[in-house]
């Protein structure tokens, strides 16, 4: 009995070891920013800015965490963001109905996710290749249908603008959406059979199949989930800028992946950390502003970002290795 107790106690401390490391890392980064540029980082405005920009990336990072839990990867989401943003914008322009525009926008993402899933499960193309192709295809498609021209969207005249672009007291609403989505994804991954089956597929696909998990259907559903959150990110971006632009989503691919990896989710599948991704998104999303505010040139951003990714992955890998032995 004593043995059993010690064992489970040891387990719970290692379970949280990499999360604790991540929180310490986040605190020290912001601490460093406060020391290097107190005039910026000791005031609320910069945090308000982060709380409205980071969530766009955070939505997709949460989706990608699910895809990685299943041992797959999706590279098409930045283009989906643009495509769905455009479809949302033109539907709104044509009908003046926010609800309809939302539905059609999210549906366009779901369709892309379904195509991704089908390429992977029915034809058997590895997800990295299938979604790489789709990333070009969807970007090209949205450029063709939009003629590559940006589009103003008069969303500030609708009452939904409050829900997707303004502030609740001092908190930007995007941050509330991100928090809500993170809590939902946390329960979906760890408390719902949907997440459990995704983790089993990532861990041992054959075992999942032999135990009655419909692997193909699950994979398709997770790719749909990923694309739908990318659509949501595109729509929320339209609200934020009141504009749709053809390069929407570009630059997010590496940032989103960095956020997920810094958060402690591995490429190998079978394990994932929603809370890690949440913190990782804020770390990655605030780096550039912090570095520029500190007086360093923008060139430093990538360098520091690289160091952070490497260091955090070393920490996660080592703490997992100790857990295994």
């Amino acid at each position: 009995m004593n043995n059993l107790y010690n064992n489970s106690k040891a387990k719970s401390t290692t379970r949280y070891k990499s999360q604790i490391a991540l929180i310490i890392m986040a605190i020290s980064i912001f601490g460093l920013f406060m020391i290097t540029s107190p005039e910026v980082f000791l005031k609320g405005r910069i945090y308000q800015a982060f709380l409205s920009t980071v969530p766009i990336m955070g939505f997709m990072a949460l989706g990608l965490t699910f895809v990685l839990a299943m041992g797959e990867i999706d590279l098409s989401f930045p283009s989906v963001m643009a495509l769905s943003g455009y479809i949302f914008a033109v539907t709104f322009e044509a009908t003046n109905s926010v609800i309809l525009a939302f539905l059609v926008g999210l549906l366009s993402g779901a369709i892309v996710g379904f195509i991704n899933g089908s390429l992977i499960t029915l034809i058997g193309i590895p997800s990295i290749v299938a979604t790489l192709g789709m990333q070009f295809l969807i970007r090209g498609f949205s450029n063709i249908i939009s003629s590559g021209l940006a589009k103003r969207v008069a969303l500030d005249t609708t009452s939904s603008y409050k829900i997707f672009a303004e502030r609740l007291w001092v908190i930007p609403v995007q941050a509330i959406w991100l928090l809500g989505l993170a809590i939902f994804f946390y329960f979906l991954l760890l408390r719902h059979k949907f997440g459990e089956q995704a983790l089993f597929i990532g861990d041992n696909q054959e075992a999942a199949r032999m135990m009655g998990v419909n692997v193909n259907r699950m994979k398709t559903m997770v790719f749909i989930l990923m694309s739908v959150v990318a659509s949501f990110a595109g729509i929320v971006s339209c609200y934020r800028m009141r504009t749709w632009w053809p390069t929407m989503g570009e630059g997010y691919l590496m940032m989103v992946m960095a956020a997920v990896f810094v958060g402690g989710t591995s490429m190998f599948g079978g394990e994932a950390s929603i809370e890690g991704t949440f913190i990782g998104a804020f770390i990655i999303g605030s780096l550039e502003a912090g570095i520029v505010a500190a007086g360093l040139s923008g060139f430093w951003t990538q360098f520091v970002c690289g160091i952070l990714i490497i260091v955090s992955i070393i920490i996660h890998t080592l703490s997992k290795r100790r857990k295994g032995s």
């Binding site: 459990e196 075992a207 199949r209 032999m210 419909n214």
Partner: protein, 260 residues
């Protein structure tokens, strides 16, 4: 008389390679059947068809008299018909906890699909006490499978089948890579199946230790059944010779198998 499992003229091929060439196979109620044969004979394909992992191309299959539609049949349907397969550690997910591995595919959930974790853990602890005899090993319901030994993993796989009370238990190489003590546990498990009036199919290369608990042996070679033997009518020695003869000759000599 109705059989628990009846397969008629079953064909299956993978990418043009024919794995099963017209299998006729039956398992009666309260019968323990050993499926014997060399590597690549088609034993695994056959049990994966029975357990719903693979579909079949041609032929007919009945479980408890119910005709199986190969397009619709699945592991879930097999489970609901009381067919439970133990794939040893092959069907366990290493990074996941014991309780998740016991209930995967059959989670205890509420209407929205959220897992009742407390209930699943409680049941897992019960399973560990009753079926596995895990005491003082230091493993609990929250242990990840990768922290368990080979024998313990096998215990988990077998306990999973026992817990869900199957009418037909399929065991894939149940005694491979096990210590003598662990083999005895498996034999006791098969004996229990028989005593409870349930049926069992097992796959094996090496039948020395399972011979006594079997009722009948079916020998497969290159996708065909080449012999069926009642245990009462064949000694372990004769059976081993039959197996060797078929593998060495490399072609079926069905008239020498005592057909039933």
């Amino acid at each position: 008389m109705e059989k628990l499992l009846e397969m008629k003229n079953i064909y299956k091929s993978f990418d043009g390679v024919v794995a099963l060439k017209g299998i006729d196979f039956k398992v009666g109620y309260n019968e323990v059947v050993g499926l014997l044969g060399d590597n690549g004979a088609g034993k695994s394909t056959l049990i994966k068809i029975i357990s719903g992992v693979h579909s079949f191309d041609k032929g007919e299959m009945y479980i408890k008299g119910i005709k199986i539609n190969p397009r619709r049949y699945s592991v879930k349907i097999a489970h609901s018909l009381g067919v439970e397969t133990v794939y040893q550690e092959k069907a366990l997910a290493e990074k996941q906890t014991l309780w998740r591995n016991i209930f995967i595919g059959r989670q205890i959930t509420n209407k929205l699909g959220f897992i009742d974790i407390r209930k699943e853990k409680e049941e897992t602890n019960k399973i560990m006490r009753v079926f596995m005899g895990f005491r003082g090993i230091g493993a609990d319901a929250d242990s990840a499978i990768r922290t368990l030994s080979g024998g313990e993993r096998e215990g988990v796989a077998i306990s999973r089948a026992m817990y869900f009370e199957a009418d037909l238990v399929i065991l894939d190489e149940p005694t491979m890579a096990l210590s003598l003590q662990e083999v005895n546990k498996v034999l006791k498990f098969i004996q229990d199946i028989k005593n409870k009036g349930k049926s069992c199919i097992y796959i094996s290369h090496n039948i020395a230790n399972i011979y006594p608990v079997s009722d009948r042996f079916v020998l497969i070679d290159r996708g065909k059944i080449v012999g069926t033997y009642q245990r009462k009518e064949i000694s372990l020695h004769e059976l081993s010779e039959e197996m060797i003869r078929h593998t060495e000759q490399g072609k079926p000599v069905s008239q020498s198998g005592r057909k039933l």
